[in-house]
Symmetry: C2
Amino acid sequence: MDADKYLIDAIRSQGRRLTRQRQLVLEILQDSSEHLDADAVYELAKSRGLKVSLATIYRSLSLLKDLGLVEEHRFGEDHGHFETTQDGPHAHFTCLRCGRVVELEAPKIITAARAHGERAGFRVVEVTLHLSGYCDECQNEMREEQP
Amino acid sequence: MDADKYLIDAIRSQGRRLTRQRQLVLEILQDSSEHLDADAVYELAKSRGLKVSLATIYRSLSLLKDLGLVEEHRFGEDHGHFETTQDGPHAHFTCLRCGRVVELEAPKIITAARAHGERAGFRVVEVTLHLSGYCDECQNEMREEQP
DNA sequence: GTCCATGCAAACTGTTTGCACGCGC
DNA sequence: GCGCGTGCAAACAGTTTGCATGGAC
């Protein structure tokens, strides 16, 4: 897998070690189109037959964040969601009914927001744009439930 | 105080009771230009001579949220910040050094983001725009520290 | 007087950490 | 074999909850 090479390089360059656990955490995030939380990664890792603890999941996620391979987002909830680092800036939408987190392309809006912050005198490091509401599917289902 | 009338009306209309604790929590949030977390509200309430428990702070904040008088935000941290409900949509900036949370007017950007989400087929309930980085003051101090 | 709101402490959730063992190098 | 990485359980922070007492109405 190509991405493994990134991982190997990144880990080696820091004098860290490549372990099955770290590999798998990254693979799981890459394979998933969803934005998983730590517990979901943990369950998926176990279901792939790896003996692993939740503590290691957190430690691996933290390392991968430090390496820049993974990003953490807090969508107004009390726990984090993780995704592999994306190329361009993008926004997220969380469905309040089914909980799914979807990505949204919004480069212009995010760039405008960054410029707006700089204009106000801040050095802007990060811009987070998060929408919440109801996805198409859930809107339909809600219509059926309450005619 | 005018805002107390809002509180009284809102609470009465739900058959709830007006207590010194609830009044004070709202007052503290109104008086503060910062975006306080639960513990900060707790400390301020105690410093105003009210005997109160942290549990009550949380319960009051939750009630005020339900009444629509207060909003909770999670700025990528593991704990919430609270503010009285504002008129228009606005963004927030968190300084990564001093932790201060500042409001930012950005109605056009937020409106554009909402429209963007609706165009993608979502019913958008909320838009959160959050910037983080370094405030003017901290930029200066950092310059002095590392010449 | 009724019943909701409070204080207290204990429970709970997501996350982090100390320690002894295991495994990548 | 050296030393980082791991599993386990305990610690931790923020928040919520059960229960008996207190106060708004």
